[in-house]
Structures are given as structure tokens and as C-alpha cells.
């Protein structure tokens, strides 16, 4: 197990280099610059800008700088936002996205697992099929349709929640974005839980538990959930990391100052240091989360040995 973990950690570094290099190449190849726009600037001004940001150096020199930056995990200052370093931006955008993502996923876990477990326990009943239908709705309705619908109903008609902007983690402004973001995860988690639980509930040791006279609640929570939630856990790894990309639409609709918003704007602005910084961060998150998930998988299911 330890060797497995060490191996996985060691691999993270070269993977990171590859990911960042590939992204850098893609950004370089894309047409346009961070200063190109509809209002054209004079050629001399453009030359000054290129010199100021080191864009006039040959590509291998610039690439070398990028590699060194990965090592220090400091990608310099944003090209678009004068004087703000990439790490500064990451530090202040991350809590917002993390809070949003965490809340959304927690909500999805609670609602999804409950729905899925009940559906599995009462298989083929009215409860089962309506839960699955609702879950299916979650997958079928795009979040940029759901979000405005929620805003229309709860913000502009009922005036219960603000239609946009971030007023902090524990404020009303997190409700609608979290619901919008969690919808699709509720759906997947409910379905995964249901199918996982169905399989587990058929197995021998559950029959034994029931035969021993344990209440249904004890059977479920103490025995079935452990195995039944395996697919949910394996789903959680990449899901959590990609929640960041997934929040792009939600942050755009609700104008939240999170990583997703920064990232999409950085892409459109060709803000190379910021793109690289966020990509590196996402890459590390994905790799670390995958590792954590694989570890937790082994913890939960003793049959699995690394």
C-alpha cells in the first residue's frame, strides 16, 4: 500500500509538467493576444507591451521560464490584471469556488444518497421510479437552463434570494448557485447509490444481517451503505476536481468571483500565466483526489489490495 501511494505521488510531478507544457503549447498556438481587441493600439505601444511582458523573447526562452515557474509553483503576474500575481488570484478565487462546490456536492450527496437508498429499498415502487425520474431530470436539464429558471422563480418573482453576486459563504447568495450546480450530481449520485445498493442488498451478508433480526435502518446504515457507496466514492474523485470546471457556467450566470469565472475569462483573454496557474492547480487537484479516492476505496473494501 505504501509503495503504491509513493509511486502515485512521485508520478504527479512529471504528469504536472506534461499537462502544463501541453497547455502552454495550446495557448501559444491559439490566435490573439491579451492586448488585442476591438480598439486597436498603435504599433509602438504594442511593441512596448511585448517588451514589458517578455513576449518578444524566442519561444524556447519563454518555455524555459514556464518550466522554472512550475517548479516554484509561481506563474508570475497576470497579463490582463496589472500587478496581480497568479497565486494571489488563486488564493482569493479558490475559497469561493471551494465553498460553492463543497456546498453543492454536500447537498448532492445528502439528497442523492437518500433518494438512491430509498429507491433501492423500495425497488420498483412508486417511490423508486419517481426518484429515478427526478434524477433523470437532473441529468437532462442543462445548468444554464436550470439556473435562469430558478432565478426567475425565486429571485425575480418571490424575491427570496438575490439573483447574483457573492455575499459570503453563509449568506443567502449561495443557495441558488448551489442548487443549480448540484442538480446533475444529485442525479448521478442517486442512480449510482441505487444500483450500488441494489447489488449489495442482494448479497449474502445482508441476508444474514436481516436474518439476525436487525432493523432495516441498521441493516442499511451499518452494513449495506459501506459496500453500496463504493461507486459513489469512485465517482467523487474526478467529480470533485472537475467541479471547478463545472462551476464555470454557474459562476457566469450568478457572477461569482470563483476559479471557474477567472479561468474562462483567462482563456478568452489569452492570459497565459493565469491559465497555466489554474491548469496546474486543477491537474494537481485531479491527481490528488484520484489518489485519495483510490486509498479510501481500499480502506472501505478490504478485498482490494494494492
Amino acid at each position: 500500500m505504501l509503495r503504491f501511494i509513493v509511486r502515485r505521488i512521485v508520478i504527479i510531478i512529471p504528469m504536472l509538467f506534461v499537462v502544463v507544457s501541453l497547455t502552454w503549447a495550446l495557448v501559444r498556438l491559439a490566435p490573439g493576444n491579451f492586448y488585442s481587441g476591438e480598439k486597436k493600439i498603435a504599433p509602438a505601444v504594442e511593441a512596448n507591451l511585448r517588451e514589458k511582458y517578455g513576449l518578444d523573447k524566442p519561444w524556447y526562452v519563454q518555455y524555459g521560464k514556464v518550466l522554472r515557474n512550475i517548479g516554484r509553483f509561481d506563474f508570475g503576474t497576470s497579463l490582463r490584471y496589472e500587478g496581480q500575481s497568479v497565486n494571489q488570484i488563486l488564493l482569493r478565487a479558490l475559497p469561493v469556488s471551494a465553498a460553492l462546490g463543497f456546498t453543492a456536492y454536500l447537498l448532492a450527496l445528502i439528497v442523492g444518497i437518500t433518494m438512491g437508498t430509498l429507491a433501492a429499498l423500495k425497488q420498483n415502487s412508486w417511490l423508486d421510479s419517481s426518484s429515478m425520474v427526478i434524477a433523470m431530470l437532473g441529468i437532462s436539464i442543462p445548468n444554464f437552463v436550470l439556473g435562469p429558471l430558478l432565478v426567475l422563480l425565486f429571485s425575480l418573482t418571490l424575491f427570496w434570494f438575490p439573483p447574483a453576486l457573492w455575499n459570503g459563504f453563509l449568506s443567502k447568495s449561495i443557495v441558488l448557485p448551489a442548487i443549480t450546480l448540484s442538480a446533475i450530481y444529485v442525479a448521478y449520485i442517486a442512480r449510482l447509490t441505487r444500483s450500488g445498493m441494489l447489488e449489495v442488498l442482494r448479497s449474502d451478508y445482508i441476508r444474514t444481517a436481516r436474518a439476525k433480526g436487525l432493523s432495516e435502518w441498521q441493516v442499511v446504515t451499518r452494513h449495506a451503505l459501506r459496500g453500496g457507496l463504493l461507486p459513489v466514492i469512485s465517482f467523487s474523485g474526478p467529480a470533485l476536481a472537475f467541479l471547478i470546471t463545472g462551476t464555470v457556467v454557474v459562476e457566469k450566470i450568478f457572477a461569482l468571483p470563483g476559479l471557474g469565472n477567472y479561468f474562462i475569462n483567462a482563456c478568452f483573454n489569452r492570459d497565459e500565466p493565469l491559465i497555466l496557474g489554474i491548469v496546474a492547480f486543477i491537474a494537481i487537484s485531479v491527481l490528488v483526489f484520484n489518489l485519495l479516492v483510490d486509498i479510501s476505496y481500499a480502506v472501505i473494501d478490504p478485498r482490494i489490495k494494492y
Partner: protein, 341 residues
């Protein structure tokens, strides 16, 4: 957003876990394989089909999917013949170039002309939704086929050959998986030359298919890994069948079950991805429309003209809904464990 197959067990790197159902391989199949003919067990598929049809929900879903797909295929042409205008026709009369609610026309009177209303340029929404469906379905279908072709080949090869090559191939998959999807697509869509609107759609196929093959490869690899030590493969190897032939004619047909299920579930995911891209301005570009771009356009005016988003949104949701049920049904039909019920 990347696709998730909610039935796959996790990819566990160093251990081989059985993934997916096993297939009963009849003696007849083995002898046929050994003799060089290959025939996928027909009795298995016929069984599966029967189970699928008996599943009312999946059957209903299939019917709706077919109805909508047919409507999208022939609808625009029929409407054009009936009304005399193509779907993107903008009336010259300024009093008609505005958004009318369904079944209404200028002055608020009832009219059969626009059952779904018009958009702000006076274009009929029904015609646009059906035309959009053509593009959405075509994009989803072809992107899925692209991802199928690439993913199946890649995964099967990695799974069968195993060892170092498998490690390397899966590492590549991991790296690609952690690349930011949006930026790949931006660059792909910016770099690949598109001389015609048709070319733009091809780009989209490649861009979408290029990301969805990753999970497909993983699934197929898992399947192949659990199959490759089975007797019929060992027999084939013993009789000297070449590796590519083993992969393509023995392993892949037997791994097809989850592949089909996953493919059916990829279609809605790709459709959603395309819609998301349209929302960002990178997806299908005018004059072509897709459900995603229509819904994104409509979301802009949701507070004032709700039907602009509701109709394409509901149509797309309905399609995705039914496709997911069909996929579920397929999975149930092909999963022998459910047979025990």
C-alpha cells in the same frame, strides 16, 4: 463536462478487478472461433432484445426518441413546403419581426401558424427547434461514433497487450483527462480550418469526440482485461491467431455490451457538452442552430419571452431523458445479474 459512467467500477491501477458482467460463451461459439469463423452469440443478443422491449419505460423512451428524431429529419422540409419559407426566414414586414407567443399572431389573435411562437426576428420556433434537432442529433451521433472507434481500439489494445504498454497508454489517458477541456476546445475550434459551415460542424465532432473517448477506452480496457484470460482467448492464441485479429474479432465483440450501453449514454452527454459550448459561444454557429444554441439564446430573454427557451429546452430535455432510459434499459437487458430477478 466529462462524462461519467455510473455503472463502471473505479479504475484501480495495479490490481485487476473484474469489471462488468461476464458472458456465457457457448461451446458452439468456441468451436466456431477455433475454426476461424466468428459469430457473436446470437442467442445472447436476441435474449437481450426481448428483455429490452419488455421494459416498458425503455420501450416508451425508444419510441419517443424515434418520433423526435424522425420529426427532426423530415420536419424542416415539410414545414418549408407547407409555408414556403425555410426555417431561417425573417419576414420583411416590421410588424411581424417580433416575438409572438405560441398560437398567437399580430394583434393577439389565435393562429395555427406558429404553434411554438416566434423569436424576436419573427422566425417560427417549431421550424427552428426541428432544424436544431437535426444538428444536435447529428453532432451527438457522429461524435459518439468517433469516440467509440478511437476508444474501443485504444482500450482493447491497452487491455490485451498489458504490461508496460498498457501503463503508458493509461498514463496518457490520465494526462489527457486532466487537461482543461474548455481550452482544448477553444484552440481546436480556432486552429482547425473551417471553410464552410459544414466544416465548422465537423470541427465540433472532432472536438467533442476527442474528449469522450477517454472513458470509453477505460471501460473497454477493463472489459478486455477481464476477458483476456478466458478459455476462448487462450484457445485462439494457442491456435496461432494474430494479436490484431484476437483483439478485433474475439475480444471486442464480447466486450460490446458495456460499450453499447456507454455509447447510448454518451450521446446525451455530448449533446449537453455541445449546448454548454454554445452557451460560451464556441458551439454550433449560425446560420446553423442546435438545441443548445437555441436554449442559450432563449435563456437571455427568459424574463420577457419565456417560450424562446422553454420549447428548445424541453425538447432537448425530453430527448436526453428518453435516451437515458433507453440506455438504462439496454444495460438491464444485457446485465445477466438482473436476469436472476
Amino acid at each position: 463536462m466529462p462524462e461519467f459512467d455510473d455503472q463502471t467500477k473505479p479504475r484501480v491501477s495495479d490490481t485487476e478487478l473484474h469489471v462488468g458482467p461476464e458472458y456465457a460463451v457457448a461451446e458452439r461459439d468456441v468451436s466456431e472461433i477455433v475454426s476461424g469463423e466468428v459469430e457473436v452469440g446470437t442467442s445472447l443478443w436476441r435474449d437481450a432484445w426481448r428483455r429490452l422491449v419488455r421494459n416498458r419505460l425503455a420501450a416508451l423512451g425508444m419510441m419517443i426518441v424515434i418520433v423526435i428524431a424522425l420529426a427532426c429529419l423530415v420536419g424542416p422540409t415539410l414545414i418549408e413546403k407547407a409555408s414556403g419559407h425555410p426555417y431561417d426566414f425573417i419576414p420583411r414586414d416590421a410588424s411581424l419581426t417580433k416575438a409572438f407567443p405560441p398560437f398567437r399572431t399580430a394583434g393577439g389573435q389565435f393562429s395555427w401558424q406558429h404553434p411554438m411562437g416566434t423569436d424576436t426576428a419573427g422566425r417560427d420556433i417549431l421550424a427552428r427547434v426541428l432544424s436544431g434537432g437535426q444538428i444536435s442529433l447529428m453532432v451527438a451521433l457522429i461524435a459518439t461514433i468517433v469516440s467509440l472507434l478511437i476508444g474501443v481500439t485504444y482500450g482493447a489494445t491497452a487491455g490485451y497487450i498489458g504490461g508496460r504498454l498498457d501503463d503508458l497508454m493509461m498514463r496518457i489517458v490520465d494526462v489527457l483527462y486532466s487537461l482543461p477541456y474548455v481550452i482544448i476546445v477553444i484552440v481546436l475550434l480556432a486552429l482547425l480550418p473551417a471553410k464552410t459551415p459544414f466544416g465548422q460542424i465537423i470541427e465540433l465532432f472532432i472536438a467533442l469526440g476527442a474528449v469522450s473517448w477517454l472513458t470509453m477506452a477505460r471501460i473497454v480496457r477493463g472489459q478486455v482485461m477481464s476477458l483476456k484470460n478466458q478459455d476462448f482467448v487462450l484457445a485462439a492464441r494457442a491456435t496461432g491467431v494474430s494479436t490484431p485479429r484476437i483483439i478485433f474479432r474475439h475480444l471486442i465483440p464480447n466486450a460490446l455490451g458495456p460499450v453499447i450501453v456507454y455509447a447510448t449514454l454518451t450521446i446525451p452527454t455530448v449533446m449537453l457538452s455541445e449546448a454548454f459550448l454554445s452557451f460560451l459561444g464556441l458551439g454550433v454557429r449560425p446560420p446553423r442552430v442546435s438545441w443548445g444554441s437555441l436554449a442559450a439564446e432563449g435563456a437571455q430573454s427568459l424574463a420577457v419571452y419565456p417560450w424562446l427557451m422553454i420549447f428548445p429546452g424541453v425538447t432537448m430535455a425530453l430527448m436526453l431523458f428518453c435516451l437515458n432510459f433507453v440506455g438504462d434499459g439496454l444495460r438491464d437487458a444485457l446485465d445477466p445479474q438482473m436476469k436472476k430477478q
